[in-house]
């Protein structure tokens, strides 16, 4: 196990930002922290990056207690650099702080600039960089010292669609070489790149596992029924429906307890000689499953 976190808690005065959170990241695994704003994602990542001291709990990294800051790469949500430096100067500065030997540094810096596509801007002052360019430079500085674990805080939230795609592609490439732990509030981003997702709410882990499995955990089956006759008195009394929502007198959205009850519902309709004009199975989307987990 590359990173293991046990019962991590962070309190700010009265407010508990992270509440007994436990998670683990294996080597070369990509894990997403998913949750709404204010669910404690950034606080968790800051503690794992060694910037914030946990109130209680344990962190084990590479088999040792505590974080070895020379073996992690960290990218905050809004990376800020020294605006008077050029991109190249900044990477040299960052590399020296992370003990990269002088001989290897220059070629490493050039390699990183090429990887994030900043070769043409390498001698320009960072002060003039756009948000997307800063994000690229942020990724370059996080990868420079070949970390074992990359910690990215909302790496794509602030980017335009193109920048988003580029960064997600970079992450796809990177996860072959190192472990990535990143936070996001966009379900789709998590689905695209990560192997495992940890869903947070109010600083607690709500669910964790493969997102594909999350799709299947939605046990409830929804269907929509339109008929010519009124549905009201009869439909609200069927025993196998978890919930019935009438859109109108002749149209209802029914949440069934089991998939097999679908046939039972149709059979009941036939038995009561109800003319069904429309019957639709609603597909269980990832969003539905996510919202279900969040509202549990």
């Amino acid at each position: 196990m590359l990173l293991a976190v046990n019962q991590l808690t962070k309190k700010f005065k009265q407010h508990t930002a992270v509440d007994e959170l436990s998670l683990a990241v294996k080597e070369k695994e990509c894990v997403a922290l998913l949750g709404p704003n204010g669910s404690g994602k950034t606080t968790t990542l800051n503690m794992l990056a060694g910037l914030l001291k946990p109130t209680s709990g344990e962190i084990f990294f590479m088999g040792k207690r505590g974080i070895d800051r020379s073996r992690i790469g960290y990218l905050p949500q809004y990376p800020a650099f020294f605006s008077w430096m050029t991109a190249r100067e900044y990477l040299h500065f960052a590399g020296k702080l992370s003990h990269i030997p002088k001989k290897a540094l220059s070629s490493k810096v050039d390699e990183m600039l090429a990887f994030v596509g900043l070769e043409d801007e390498k001698n320009k002052r960072i002060g003039g960089f756009s948000g997307g360019m800063k994000q690229r430079l942020g990724i370059a500085q996080a990868l420079l010292h070949e970390p074992k674990l990359l910690i990215l805080d909302e790496p794509v939230s602030a980017l335009d669609p193109e920048g988003r795609r580029d960064v997600l592609q970079m992450m796809q490439q990177l996860k072959r070489k190192l472990a990535i732990l990143f936070s996001t509030h966009v379900l789709h981003d998590a689905e695209q790149v990560c192997d495992r997702t940890v869903i947070l709410k109010d600083g607690k882990v709500k669910w964790s596992g493969d997102l594909n499995a999350l799709k299947q955990t939605g046990r409830q089956v929804k269907c929509v029924l339109h008929a010519e006759a009124k549905l009201k008195p009869w439909l609200s009394s069927i025993p196998y429906a978890a919930k019935v929502h009438f859109r109108s007198a002749t149209c209802a959205e029914i949440t069934l307890q089991h998939e097999r009850d679908r046939m039972r519902l149709l059979k009941d309709c036939v038995a009561r000689e109800i003319d069904v004009t429309h019957f639709e199975m609603k597909k269980h989307s990832l969003e539905d499953a996510y919202l279900e987990v969040m509202n549990e």
């Binding site: 914030l52 020296k96 702080l97 942020g138």
Partner: protein, 260 residues
């Protein structure tokens, strides 16, 4: 050591690109030089001001060179202190609020490296600026008034540097705790002025105070002697400055690990 040197180097490059390395000595030189020049032309200025009845004779005895230098240092007590505070107030809080600090601290950088790099870089810059500006004042003094021995000049400037270091140390320490630069400047100036005031009100109890440094420098300029309680004052001030340095590291560590 490599980390400290990298950060130290960065401070110099930043001071150079910011032009701080340029304006700081220039402002200090202007402050210092204005005193001997103003004193020299005082009589002409008063005469030119008019409003004086016909036939009034203005006779201002020309001060000695030592007196001119001493008044230059008193000028520094006010304006120089403010310049030191203003030039140092933002160096931590600015990096903290912009977020650049988080990326530095995410690397294996200790609080000691970070604080020491800023502390030493600015100690050099400020002492250099002060010495150069005081040197200019010395130059004008010996040309417009009379000669002052080099020994008195160097000894008084060395002692005065203690006060500059102290003000810088206070500002840096306050700067580790407060987010807004205005607040940092206000609190630092208040502390420096308060100590100065206390030292002149209760000289008996304040022999350790770094505010005495400027008084001792004055005394040495005028008399060539340090007077009583010189060594205790120097040693206590040095310890106080060292203590502030360590306090800054501690406070910085606490602030960084508790809020981010």
């Amino acid at each position: 050591m490599k980390i400290f040197l990298t950060l130290f180097q960065k401070e110099w490059l930043e001071a150079w690109r910011d032009k701080k390395l340029l304006w700081l000595p220039i402002v200090m030189i202007l402050t210092a030089v204005s005193q001997p020049i103003a004193l020299y032309y005082m009589a002409d200025v008063l005469e030119g001001a008019g409003n004086l009845p016909e036939g009034s004779v203005i006779e201002i005895p020309l001060p000695s060179g030592e007196e001119v230098l001493a008044s230059t240092l008193s000028q520094f007590d006010i304006i120089g202190t403010a310049i030191v505070v203003l030039s140092v107030m933002g160096i931590i809080s600015h990096e903290r609020s912009s977020g650049a600090l988080a990326l530095v601290m995410a690397r294996p950088v200790a609080a000691l490296h970070y604080i020491a790099s800023k502390w030493l870089a600015y100690a050099f810059i400020l002492i250099f600026s002060f010495t150069v500006s005081y040197g200019f004042a010395y130059y004008y003094t010996i040309h417009l008034f009379q000669g002052v021995s080099l020994g008195r000049f160097f000894a008084s400037s060395a002692i005065y540097c203690l006060w500059i270091l102290f003000v810088m140390a206070v500002t840096l320490t306050v700067g580790t705790m407060i987010k807004k630069t205005g607040g940092i400047a206000g609190v630092s100036l208040l502390l420096a002025a308060g100590l100065s005031l206390l030292s002149s009100l209760f000289p008996e109890y304040m022999k350790w105070s770094p505010a005495n440094a400027s008084r001792k420098a004055n005394q040495f300029l005028l008399t060539g002697e340090w007077g009583d309680a010189f060594y205790p004052a120097v040693i206590a001030s040095s310890f106080l400055i060292m203590g502030l340095f360590m306090l800054a590291i501690l406070l910085f560590k606490r602030f960084e690990s508790c809020t981010a």
